[in-house]
């Protein structure tokens, strides 16, 4: 087994959680699977990709988000904070070391500048929330997507959610970074899963560790297994590759990914154009920017680049999907 076996054990959910930890539910999405969908963003991820477009999803705990654009400087939060962790005259505004995440400041904030990121929700409420748009799922052939973070860090929750959704014939889809305990997945989640969107980022394991925080062996092992399921028509699998300039989008890396896909019988894949909006989110969580490749860091990818990346897969007979 690869060197990250212990990591898998560590993230396997052994004790059923009373509640699911999520940070957002997005409705009416058109790009997260077929039809009109609701997406549950679970919080917590075993990876820590430097370009993560949801940096607030990585941490498995609650976080305080502060959006300076929305702040009207009423100071109600500073008055409410029992720890004196808010100082609107300081450049950082929030003294994160002092914050105990009591979120009293969020309760009093009139403008929504302060928000709690990460909420526990019990299954009945979660099901109720995702079914608000059930009529639209039914009419459009849509359904529910779980994303994150890594949804499969909370397999109890995902399994329970999906089993309830399947009772109502709602289509279920997982977006995963691929690092999960396959055995637990097979028992708890797979029976209720229609589709998996499986991300592959870097073929070189050292580079994967450097940029994503973990090596990639287990991810690739899981990929082989779910692809086998796809070949047996148990589920549908769509491999996806996030394009990050100079890191994942190199000819070398994409060619290696394409070859790996071919080995596993992949016929369709999706490229995810680089999303620079992640930069906007960092200051809200007091996070540091860990990736900078110059001017392009803050820009959407030019079409020519997407064409180049597409061609690497198409030339091997793999059909490429891409929302531009």
């Amino acid at each position: 087994m690869g060197p990250d076996a212990s990591l898998i054990d560590a993230i396997a959910v052994t004790e059923p959680r009373k509640a699911s930890l999520y940070f957002d539910i997005k409705r009416n999405t058109l790009d997260d699977g077929p039809g009109i969908r609701s997406v549950v963003f679970f919080k917590g991820c075993p990876l820590s990709c430097t370009w993560c477009q949801n940096p607030e999803s990585i941490n498995t705990g609650y976080e305080l988000s502060y959006d300076a654009e929305k702040c009207i400087s009423c100071h109600d939060c500073a008055d409410a904070c029992p720890e004196q962790a808010i100082d609107l005259s300081s450049p950082d505004k929030i003294i994160r070391d002092k914050c105990t995440q009591c979120f009293k400041c969020v309760d009093v904030c009139p403008s929504g500048a302060l928000e709690r990121c990460g909420n526990d929700i019990d299954m009945d409420h979660l099901v109720e929330k995702v079914l608000e748009d059930e009529a639209f799922f039914e009419a459009s052939g849509g359904g529910v997507t779980v994303s994150g973070g890594e949804a499969l860090m909370q397999m109890d929750s995902v399994g329970e959610l999906f089993s309830r959704l399947k009772q109502r014939n709602v289509h279920t889809l997982i977006q995963t970074a691929g690092l999960f305990n396959y055995k637990v997945f097979e028992n708890l989640v797979l029976p209720y899963t229609d589709t998996i969107y499986f991300d592959l980022k870097l073929m070189d394991s050292d580079a994967h560790k450097q940029y994503c925080g973990v090596p990639n062996h287990s991810i690739h092992e899981n990929f082989r297994k779910v692809q086998a399921l796809a070949r047996d028509s148990v589920i549908e699998v769509l491999p996806r590759v996030p394009l990050v300039p100079f890191i994942t989008d190199t000819d070398e890396n994409l060619s290696a990914i394409a070859d790996f896909m071919l080995e596993n019988g992949v016929k369709n894949m999706q490229i995810l154009p680089y999303n620079p909006i992640w930069l906007d989110k960092l200051p809200r969580f007091g996070s540091v920017q860990r990736l900078d490749f110059g001017e392009g860091t803050g820009k959407f990818m030019p079409d020519a680049e997407l064409d180049r990346c597409t061609e690497i897969f198409e030339s091997r007979g793999i059909h490429v999907h891409c929302h531009r």
């Binding site: 409705r27 009416n28 058109l30 077929p34 039809g35 009109i36 009207i72 009423c74 109600d76 009139p110 403008s111 929504g112 608000e132 748009d133 009529a135 639209f136 009419a139 459009s140 052939g141 849509g142």
Partner: protein, 797 residues
């Protein structure tokens, strides 16, 4: 007489002719035309006409106009008929609301919004009739005494509480063009004579006399085009055009005098009748209706007999559609701010079901949709009827046409509308035949005088007055009832009681004024041509203005629904539940225009309509139901029909919003309201599905005069196969759960900002505003900003 064999010849080059007609109309300068006002005045100033009955005078005055107005046949035209002496122009009606225009006519060419070209000679001529009409116009005759007249005019201009469009003329109907096409003027005269023989009632005989005069005038109007076409044909060098003109001459010699014997004749007959009605009385919002239904038998017969091809039929209909763009309203500055743009609201309704409930979508429905897509002009307004059995191919085509430069056809749900119409007295068969009038108003064509836009009512004023003892904030002008001061209001019910009292009082006032207008029309402005086409009028011998039509209604629109609903929700939450401020404190903040940013932000943060939050949505339902019940409680109009509630706003939401002080939902003084039934701008933050869930909590069947639900969508999200399919599903869900109407605003903010800053870049950018289409450049600057802000919100979602 025989039908013309090869109807339009080979000169139609796959739509190229229609494209040239469109170009000519698009490029024409907008004008004001004085011809109708001059001829009308001539007739009434001629003492020989004194002493005749009112009906005969109207008929003869109309005949005088039709017989003497300029007749023009423009290059490339196959469908002929000119509304005015200019290519694109408005008509002034001195006996109705035209006096205001006549007095300020010198400003028309240079005003900022919607300037109209009108020469100095024309201005002087028009103004020379002012003294004559001073004591013969609508307001003078409708209201007793100078004080009342002045009050009414002042209130109409200010338009704070309400504005009555019926004060400018009734219109707002779909005449029975089907009948004229089938019988022709001669056939109608024969019908009149049969009724005449059965009665001695002098008032009936007088009405019949007026109809006969009018029908003869209509027949002779056709003759004038035949003569003109013959004259042009003789002088025409191009042999192909000569052939066209000879055909026009043949067709116009037959229609509208006789019943049509071909598709071409049918469309020509309808066109000249439509134009004649614009001379008889104000024409805006006179709607052709279900063109695909009543023309279909002519199309199918011609097609089967090899007399016409699909493309030829499309070109004829295309020429008709372009023609509808040649008329624009001639509004005063005040009215322009309420009715932004230069739309004449001539609605063509497409698809739907027949009187037995079977799907009625046909090839002409598809052709009209194609034209809607290809022409994308201000007129006609294309409105589409949908129901459970609408063919998928047609529905897909409707969704496809949703995309394009700004324009999307409004979509109607047959199931909800038919039920709402039956609730107010339409028979099932007649309800199934409904058309949309003007913005969104359903009526049965050819049998209804619905006066669907009798008035617009500012709902938010009642709320402001409920919080300030019947006055606006900072004013001691007692517009409303002196309700208790807020210091004595101890519960939500106390607030609601005051609101209800103010609404009742205002609507009572509106009702009294409106009835004066109704009585004016009945007494002074009968409409014999229109009435001859409406079922019931000839049978009863009663003009439609006096209640002769089979169905009679008056529609009154409530504007500011969401601002009132969100404000009531905010009061309940802030004052009576969370109690973070008292009602007195809240009102003090409102009077201070919510300058305290913390308070304003808190108020804005309270749950609003449109987010799939049951409690917030319940307030919208409460306000809507209360409004509908209040309108129904007004009883019957003087034509014997019910008052109906509608919720659409044209651009009155901007006008009314401009006059209302800060509101408890966190809105500051003067800010616009949302349009129609939509959530307040920017208040719906959870996306389209949440919004539709909220909308589906409303009981739309209570709004038989129609509602407008303008959903703003980011075009780029949906303009792909997946997106179109998702969009189609979304509308289906809305309709399946008893939605009533929806119209998409497919927006790309960048193009709008460009159009605002550089109007010349996008001169023909079509933008949907609350149920009707207008070019973006026709809108006032405030309205342009409103559209931009709306579209920006859409893009953020």
């Amino acid at each position: 007489m025989n039908a013309i064999t090869n109807v339009v010849g080979q000169s139609l080059e796959d739509g190229a002719r229609v494209a040239r007609l469109k170009k000519a109309v698009d490029e024409a300068t907008y004008g004001g035309c004085i011809e109708r006002a001059v001829l009308w005045s001539e007739y009434y100033m001629d003492e020989a006409n004194d002493g005749k009955s009112t009906a005969v005078q109207i008929a003869e005055a109309t005949r005088h106009v039709l017989a003497n107005k300029t007749v023009k046949i423009y290059p490339d035209e196959l469908i002929v008929g000119n509304f005015t002496a200019k290519r694109v122009a408005g008509i002034c009606y001195p006996e109705l609301g035209g006096l205001g225009i006549m007095i300020g006519v010198d400003k028309l060419p240079t005003r900022k919004v919607n300037p109209l070209e009108i020469s100095e000679d024309e201005q002087a001529k028009l103004q020379s009739y002012i003294p004559f009409w001073m004591d013969k116009n609508m307001v003078y005759l409708a209201f007793d005494g100078q004080e009342e007249q002045m009050r009414f005019v002042k209130e109409q201009i200010e338009a704070l509480q309400y504005q009555l469009y019926e004060a400018g003329g009734i219109a707002h109907l779909a005449p029975g063009y089907e009948k004229v096409i089938k019988l022709g003027a001669e056939g109608i005269i024969a019908e009149v004579e049969a009724f005449e023989a059965q009665t001695n009632d002098p008032s009936k005989l007088d009405f019949y006399q007026s109809v006969k005069i009018s029908m003869n005038a209509l027949a002779e109007f056709g003759d004038r085009y035949a003569t003109e076409a013959r004259r042009l044909a003789e002088a025409e060098a191009d042999p192909q055009r000569k052939l066209d003109l000879e055909r026009i001459a043949e067709v116009c010699a037959r229609v509208p005098r006789y019943g049509a014997t071909s598709f071409y004749e049918a469309v020509q007959s309808m066109t000249l009748t439509h134009i004649a009605i614009f001379q008889e009385t104000i024409g805006e919002t006179t709607c052709p209706g279900r063109v695909d239904q009543f023309l279909n038998s002519y199309y199918e017969e011609d097609l089967a007999a090899g007399r016409i091809s699909r493309q030829e039929a499309k070109d004829i209909l295309g020429a008709f559609c372009v023609k509808l763009c040649e008329t624009i309203p001639m509004y005063s500055d005040e009215l322009t701010s309420m009715l932004g743009g230069l739309t004449s609201w001539e609605v063509v309704t497409i698809g739907g079901q027949d009187s037995e409930g079977n799907d009625a979508t046909n090839e002409l429905s598809f052709i009209l949709l194609e034209l809607a897509d290809e022409l994308r002009m201000r007129q006609p307004n294309f409105h589409v009827r949908l129901h459970e059995n609408t063919p998928k191919a047609f529905y897909d085509e409707v969704i496809r046409v949703n995309f394009g430069p700004g324009s999307a056809p409004a979509m109607y749900n047959d199931e909800t509308i038919i039920e709402s119409m039956m609730n107010v007295g339409y028979s099932l068969e007649d309800a199934r035949d409904y058309v949309a009038i003007g913005c969104v108003e359903p009526t049965a064509p050819g049998k209804t005088l619905g006066s669907t836009d009798a008035g617009m009512y500012n709902m938010a004023l009642a709320l402001e007055m409920a919080l300030n003892e019947g006055c606006q904030f900072g004013s001691d002008r007692q517009i409303g009832v002196k309700t208790p001061p807020v210091s004595s209001m101890k519960s939500m019910d106390d607030v609601l009681d005051a609101y209800k009292v103010q609404v009742k009082h205002q609507l009572g006032k509106l009702h009294a004024d409106l009835q004066k207008c109704e009585q004016f029309h009945a007494k002074y402005h009968p409409t014999p041509i229109t009435s001859a086409t409406l079922e019931g009028c000839l049978e009863q011998g009663v003009c439609s203005t006096q209640g002769g039509a089979k169905y009679n209604f008056s529609g009154i629109q409530g504007t500011g629904m969401a601002v009132v609903a969100d404000s009531l929700g905010a009061i309940e939450s802030a004052v009576f539940e969370d109690k973070w401020l008292t009602l007195e404190e809240l009102v003090a903040h409102l009077k201070d225009n919510l300058s305290d940013e913390v308070v304003r932000t808190r108020l804005k943060g309270i749950d609003k309509f449109g987010n799939d939050i049951p409690k917030a949505d319940a307030w919208m339902k409460w306000v809507g139901d209360h409004y509908s019940d209040s309108i129904h409680a007004l009883g019957k109009n003087t034509r014997g029909g019910q008052y109906l509630a509608g919720v659409y706003s044209n651009t009155s939401h901007t006008h009314f919003g401009g006059l209302i002080n800060a509101t408890p939902n966190g809105r500051r003084a003067g800010e616009t309201f949302a349009s129609g039934f939509a959530p307040e701008n920017g208040a719906d933050k959870r996306g389209s599905t949440a919004l539709i869930n909220s909308m589906n909590r409303i009981d739309f069947k209570k709004f038989a005069n129609g509602i407008n639900f303008n959903i703003k969508l980011d075009a780029s999200s949906y303009d792909c196969d997946d997106g179109k399919s998702a969009l189609g599903s979304m509308y289906k869900v809305y309709f399946k759960r008893h939605g009533m109407q929806v119209q998409a605003n497919m927006l790309d903010p960048k193009i709008l900002i460009e159009a605002r800053d550089n109007p010349e870049l996008h001169p023909n950018l079509l933008i949907r505003v609350s149920g009707y289409s207008a070019y973006f450049n026709d809108l006032s600057p405030e309205m342009q900003d409103e559209v931009i802000s709306r579209s920006s919100n859409g893009a953020e979602q």
